[in-house]
């Protein structure tokens, strides 16, 4: 008898529970749908109050178009060239401070004369050793501290070893600048050099689109669209850095700095092929042999950053360093 009541009770309880769950689901679903509809409707018409630069309360459109998909150039920039491991070798014995590398680089990346992706430094390791010139680009480390600290995944390392920066994602926190032991990164404190040109291009582009002139617009699109592999157009409040000329590598050309050097300082190539090509003479040599025969080394090896840039010591330099040069600190007093 007792068992029967239990059975009866449990069936009733079961039906009650099911009813509750069903009505709960329907109500919950309805609430979510209503909320979703409300949010969708809000996006298009809502205004939010904001304080203007003149300390006045203004109403602005609450809906900001968020770019949720990467452009083709951004996606392409995130993928490296399959099966490659780019490597640069800098022969310090040949550098005579011609600064053509810096010029070519600044020209390609729209940089001001005082902004450097690559810089030629005057070095003197100790008081009694000879001074020499040292070009210093980003070292494109295999264990990059700058990438580890980026909070928004704006700077990243690619399959082929290149460390790039996506200034559409960069929030300008400058953690990477602080993390880089090679001081390879620069920050755009001011409007970039060609800002006016960028603005004009943008205006012209939207004008052409409005007019329906697709042919001219397409031509201009290249200049307006941000290219991660060139980091152009540059943008105020973001980071810029050496890119190993990723856009040139894609088309089989040597980097801007490498091909601009008149003195044969730079070798560039693929570690997987064990070959590097000199930018000046275009002679291709075996990477392992070049490093072995000339006692190649990397900067700050002890930090464990594993740079992809090698240096050959400034032995038997092919030019004299300017006598009593700028490295003599006494003259600055």
């Amino acid at each position: 008898m007792e068992e029967n009541t239990n059975k009866h009770n449990s069936r009733r309880e079961f039906l009650q529970k099911m009813g509750l769950i069903a009505s709960g689901t329907i109500m919950g679903g309805a609430a979510m749908y209503a909320g979703f509809k409300f949010e969708k409707a809000k996006k298009t018409e809502s205004k939010i109050k904001a304080l203007s630069a003149e300390h006045q309360l203004i109403e602005v459109d609450g809906h900001h178009p968020v770019q949720d998909k990467l452009t083709e150039l951004q996606m392409q920039g995130r993928e490296g060239l399959k099966g490659r491991r780019w490597v640069m070798v800098i022969d310090l014995a040949k550098c005579r401070n011609a600064r053509q590398c810096m010029k070519a680089c600044q020209g390609a990346h729209d940089l001001r004369p005082e902004q450097h992706h690559i810089n030629v430094l005057q070095m003197q390791d100790s008081e009694n050793t000879a001074p020499y010139f040292m070009p210093k680009p980003c070292q494109h480390c295999d264990n990059p501290p700058c990438v580890s600290v980026c909070p928004v995944d704006a700077t990243f390392k690619r399959d082929d070893g290149i460390v790039l920066i996506d200034n559409e994602r960069c929030i300008g926190c400058r953690f990477c600048v602080a993390a880089c032991p090679y001081s390879a990164r620069i920050f755009h404190w001011h409007e970039p050099l060609k800002n006016q040109e960028y603005e004009e291009n943008k205006e012209r582009y939207s004008q052409l689109i409005a007019e329906g002139n697709t042919q001219e617009a397409e031509e201009l699109e290249k200049k307006v669209t941000y290219d991660v592999e060139l980091n152009v157009p540059q943008r105020k409040g973001t980071i810029s850095k050496c890119l190993f000329s990723a856009d040139r590598l894609r088309v089989g050309k040597l980097p801007y700095c490498v091909s601009a050097c008149p003195n044969g300082v730079y070798y560039f190539g693929d570690e997987n092929e064990d070959a590097v090509t000199n930018g000046t003479t275009k002679e291709t040599v075996q990477l392992s042999a070049l490093l072995r025969d000339n006692a190649g080394y990397r900067l700050m090896e002890d930090l464990g950053t594993k740079p992809r840039v090698y240096y050959l010591p400034p032995k038997n330099r092919l030019f004299p360093f300017p006598e009593e040069s700028l490295t003599n600190t006494e003259q600055h007093s």
Binding site: G83, F156, R158, Q331
Partner: protein
């Protein structure tokens, strides 16, 4: 202090001038090179090919011949249609293109011998009244043209290059021809070992370098070339041989690391957050469980 500064400025000016003077020093062209003539008479076809090469490699500095639109460099590159260029011999132009000087790059590694002569043919097409000297006679080596064949001897781990002279469709081995072999790399051609000279059978053997990376299958794209292109022209043979190491190194972003993207973060980072949340929820649950136990024990005690 001021005097030192002035001295530095003077030294800098002097240095500048000495560098400048160095770059504008005159061409030093050996006589035999200046007297060199083209391997064949220039034809409009040669000039046409030469024009393509010119547009790719020369225009950026020298501008279009006859239009005087050279790049503003120091010194200003010459307009190649000018009388100053027209009066120079073919050998002089050839030497300048091959060896370069100062800002003028050397093209010996970037342009083939044929292309250099094609460019000269194109430049000459702007020089009115130019009469080409007799083309130079190619040395005889048992034929009038040279043919190369490249082979990979798998058992001996050697490459064999056979050079034969062809004359009236009769082939005879060419002795004493200097040959070199190259393999294709991303930015250029890598020379393998030293160049070698063919024996009486017209053969030269090259060792396969140890551990040279090929493609994924270990294949190398090889080229055998004649070193003395001035005499024999751009004679070469090429082939693909499985003589290298297969290169299948993983991409540099494959492994888990601090600097990698979220999905490739080290395990301990990926696990730290979910484990932390689980630990907090677990602790709260455990406390609730204990409270329930206290409550039921209290009930039991009051019932008794």
């Amino acid at each position: 202090m001021n005097r030192i500064n002035i001295l530095i400025i003077l030294a800098a000016i002097f240095l500048n001038f000495s560098l400048w003077a160095q770059e504008t020093k005159p061409w030093d062209i050996p006589e035999d090179q200046a007297n060199k003539t083209a391997p064949a008479m220039f034809t409009p076809d040669m000039a046409k090919v030469g024009k393509d090469v010119y547009l790719k490699t020369c225009t950026s500095c020298h501008g279009d011949p006859g239009k005087n639109n050279q790049a503003k460099l120091n010194p200003v590159p010459s307009d190649l249609a000018s009388p100053g260029v027209a009066s120079q011999s073919d050998g002089t132009l050839h030497y300048k293109i091959v060896h370069g000087k100062g800002l003028m790059p050397a093209f010996k590694n970037t342009l083939s011998a044929t292309d250099i002569w094609n460019v000269i043919a194109y430049i000459r097409s702007f020089h009115t009244g130019y009469v080409q000297p007799e083309p130079r006679v190619i040395k005889t080596f048992g034929g009038s043209s040279l043919k190369l064949t490249l082979e990979f001897l798998k058992d001996e781990l050697k490459f064999k290059v056979l050079a034969v002279g062809v004359k009236d469709e009769i082939e005879t081995p060419a002795e004493g021809v200097e040959l070199a072999i190259f393999t294709n790399r991303y930015f250029g051609k890598l020379k393998l070992g030293e160049s070698k000279t063919t024996n009486a059978q017209g053969e030269a053997f090259f060792d396969v370098p140890e551990g040279l990376p090929g493609n994924e299958k270990g294949e190398l794209t090889l080229q055998a070339k004649v070193v003395d292109t001035d005499t024999y022209g751009d004679v070469m043979a090429s082939g693909v041989f499985a003589a290298g190491e297969p290169s299948n190194k993983p991409g540099l972003t494959e492994k888990r690391a601090m600097w990698n993207v979220g999905s490739k973060a080290p395990w301990w980072i990926s696990l730290a957050y979910p484990l932390g949340v689980l630990a907090v929820i677990g602790t709260i649950g455990y406390i609730l469980l204990l409270l329930k136990k206290v409550y039921s024990q209290g009930n039991d005690a009051s019932e008794n």
